[in-house]
Structure formats: structure tokens, C-alpha cells
Symmetry: C2
Subunit: 311 residues, 2 copies
Amino acid sequence: MKPIEDCTVGIVGMGVMGGAVAMALGRLAPARLLACDTDGGAVGAALADGVIQEAFADAAAMLGRCDLVYLCVNPSALPGFMEARMRDFKSGALITDVAGVKGGIAKVMENGLRGDLDYIPGHPMAGSEGGGYARARNCDFRGKNYILTPLKRNRPENLAYLKGLIRRMGFGRITVTTPEDHDRKIALSSQLCHVIAASLIDCEADTGIARFGGGSFEDLTRIAMLNAPMWTELFLENREELLARIGRFGESLDALRALIAGKDAAALEARLLAVRERRAAMAEEENRGQQNSCPGILDDALNTLPGSWET
Amino acid sequence: MKPIEDCTVGIVGMGVMGGAVAMALGRLAPARLLACDTDGGAVGAALADGVIQEAFADAAAMLGRCDLVYLCVNPSALPGFMEARMRDFKSGALITDVAGVKGGIAKVMENGLRGDLDYIPGHPMAGSEGGGYARARNCDFRGKNYILTPLKRNRPENLAYLKGLIRRMGFGRITVTTPEDHDRKIALSSQLCHVIAASLIDCEADTGIARFGGGSFEDLTRIAMLNAPMWTELFLENREELLARIGRFGESLDALRALIAGKDAAALEARLLAVRERRAAMAEEENRGQQNSCPGILDDALNTLPGSWET
């Protein structure tokens, strides 16, 4: 791959993530930054904002020029898009995506990709309430986690190149793992959390409850401001893993409920103490990840050290 | 009641809330600020920090001097404390507390209070992860909700006086309601949220899950860093209401699970959309409360308008 300064970059899909990726890549000064979206309003706004240099309604007209392509479409649209547009990509192009479920696309791309292309599936662990291009500026990448689930066929130099870009976009820890491991863990750390937030709102009709909020309720339900079509897709795409997680969460909830119902103060306190200690250990892991994140002055140095923070 | 500048104020219990209340009241320059705690280390630290002017190990020696007393002890300790110390209070003293469950103390104080005292139960909806005096500085009152559950016997002028102080301490919306209404709503907005956070940590043993966090998991589990003895008390004191809330949350969770298991995309999306709309309506209520909060330059004006923001 050429240095990013010499690359024409294409973004497919100008929603909250497409917009945020365009802004972050734009700061790295690629030769040309293009974007396409069937929603002309979104790419039009990005063009007017100076976030991209050319806007397309149709991917076919754009892909042939792009050395690097970021697919920022809903996960269920990915396989169909790749199948329909396979012939349109520029030879040697590096392609990546941002889908929140990784198992499906991995299976399709491992064997179905044109031989002269490279496709590295990824998942930037960032977002913004609501969604849509208008929210892209609220989507902060700095210090955030990024997961890559490479295919067996990926070229090592392309993987190193993409990691360098990701760091320069501001992300913190990059974790390389299998699609299966990603989908199993994300079912807890992201999808189950959204199911819980939605259930917490669903079980209380009185919007005046906000007057009794002390921060907990707000923190637990902020992500209930979700993009309903996209989360419907994510829940259904990762259905088996998510159902298993809901089941295990329900067991933990039942166990706590039983201790409360049984007025078992000693056992309840012991369980809450164990929870506190485990959460503290998780926070340590979080902080360790944050310390790895030094966007800004170290950008160039980081880019020369691919894999150094891989975990 | 005298102006706060002429009052001797006593804080009972120098944990995170006692410490934060002492700091906030201290900024209003009371004539004298005293505190007692059986933990000499906590009051000693507050004394060394200049947060209080006198430290006591025993409440009996302090209470006789105090025009205003803030009881910042664990909820289960309140009735016993009041019974044991009833004779020690200064005649005409105004007493309030910060306990997170209100039903129990209301019953005791409605009939059991010395005739020359006034006791207004309250609940500042603020806190800090962990607890203890060392965390008091992290406990930010600005714009936060405050609930008061007055007794029938409370003198209106004392209620107005306390509201004025609460506003000058930086709190946003003050809601006046019954202990029953408080306990029912707080079971959702606070206690259920803590049960959920604890269950979410309880159901995942791998602390490395932090590498897969994108903010949701962190936001939903931050409050799992709870003070285990205090939350054990709160859960058990408000057991009936909390169990009812856990039950209703479980029903909402089951309903979402069934839609996911049944791959019912249309119904799932509709439910998520309804959730999003309800959460947006709750956020509007939240913001309305925040707009009512103007700590700082308006303090004195606010103090002359008791009840104007009561809802």
C-alpha cells in the first residue's frame, strides 16, 4: 500500500460511523477522499462541510478509483454489497468494514473475495447516540478500543498498514482476534447492554421518573437512544450468542433476587463485594488500554511500530 | 431558623455524603461546622482539610450545640440513632437526613420526635463510586436532583429554609413527595440499576472483557463499584418495592428475548423504536430539571424564592 497521502480513499455509507471515519481519515490528508451513500442528503452535507471532496450516489462510479475502502453500511448489507460490487473495486484495493457482528462477513470473504483485493474485517468500538451523519462529530475515537478479525488470506503488510491508520485515527487498544471470539464477547459488552437498557426503559412508562434520577438510571439507559433498525439487525445477526448472554445475565439477576427475597444480608453483601472487586479488576484492564493510547504527537512514531500494542 | 451564617451546623457521619455535605455547607459559611463519626480517621481528615472546625467521636457531645443537623449515616442506623440521641439535640434544632429509603424513618419520626425539634427526611440524588470520606470531593451536587419527603408535622418555614439551603448547595430540581412514592420510584431509578449492574458483572468472569468495551458496558457497570454494606441495607430496607421492579424488568427482558429468539425483526424494531422515543421523552424531563439549576450567581435570589421550583 502507498502512504495514505498518496491514496484515494472511499467511504461507503455516510451515517454516524461513515462520517466519523471520513473526518478522522481526512485529518491524515489522503490524496482524495470520496464517499457514496444512497441518501444524497448525507453525502451532500459531508461535501458541504468539506469532510469529503467528492460525493457519489452510486458506489460503482467511485470504487474503481479507491486504494482504500471503508465500508460503513449496516452489517446485513455487507455480503450483498460485496457480491454486487466485487467487479468494481480497483485492483490491489484494501477494504475494511465497521460492522458490529463479524462471523457472517468472514465466511463470505474468506473464499468469495477477488484474488487481487484484500478485505480486513474490523469493528471500531465507538459510536454516538442516535446515529446519522449529523451525529458524526459527536463520535469520538480517541482512546477507544478497535477489534480486527483478519481473514487467513489477509496480507501481513496490509494488516500492519491498517493498524497504523487506526492508531493515527486516534483509537487506543487494537485487539486482533477471531470472528467467533469477537461475536461471543461483543454479545455481552455491547449487545446485552443495549438489551438491558431497552428493557429498563420498557418496564417504566412514567417519563417523570427522571426527577428521581441520580445518575445511575441515566447512565444505564443512555444507549436506549438506539438506532432501531441497526440494532435489530445486530441482535438478530448475533442471535445465538446474545441469547446465551441474556440467559446467563438472567441467572445472575435471579440469584441476586433470591438473596434479596430471602433477606440474606450476609450472602448478599458478600456477593456485592465480589462484584465490586471484579469490576475494579475490569477497570484496571480498561485503564491499561487507555494508557496505550497516545494520539497526537506520537502518531508518526506509532505508525512505524505496527503490532506493538496488539494484544 | 437563623440565617445559616449564624447557625452551628453538625454533620453526623463523615462518609462520602457526610463529607460532601460538609464541603457544600461550609461554602455557605455557617458560624461553626462540627462533625462526628465513630471512625476517628474520617473526622480527623476532615478537620485536617479544614472542611470542619471541630471533630467529635461521640454525637452526644456535639448535638447540644447544633441548630442544624445533617444525619449522614446508613439508613438502618437512623431510627436507633434518633432514639438513643433524642435527648441530646438542641431545642428548636432542624434535623435532616440523606438516607436512600424513606418509608422507615418517616414512620418513626412522625410520632416519635421530641416536640421542640423538626425532622425533614431527604435524599440527595448524588454520590460517588466507592464511598468513604476520601471520595467526598468527587461527589458533585451541581444540578443534581434532591427529594424531600416531609412529615405532616414539619413546619412550613423550616421546609422553605431547608429548600433554600439545598439550592445554595448547588442542587438542581427539588421534588417534594411522600415516602411511599419516593421508595417506589427510587426502587427503579437507583436500586434496580445497581442490581442490574451487579448482575452484569456477576455473569462474566473474564476481566479481559474490558478490551471489547465501547462505552456501554463501562457505563452500565460503573455503579457496580458499590459500597456493599450500604447497598445491602438499601436493597433489604426497600425489599418489596425492589422485588416488584426486578420482576417487571424481568418481564421486559423476557419479551425482548422472545422477539430475538423468534427472529421477529418487525416487532423487535417497533419495540426498540418505542423505547427510543420514551427515553427521548425522559431526557426532555431531565433537561427541564437541569435548566432549573443555576447554582452560583443566583444563589441569593434563589434562596428568597422557596418552593418556586418545587414540582
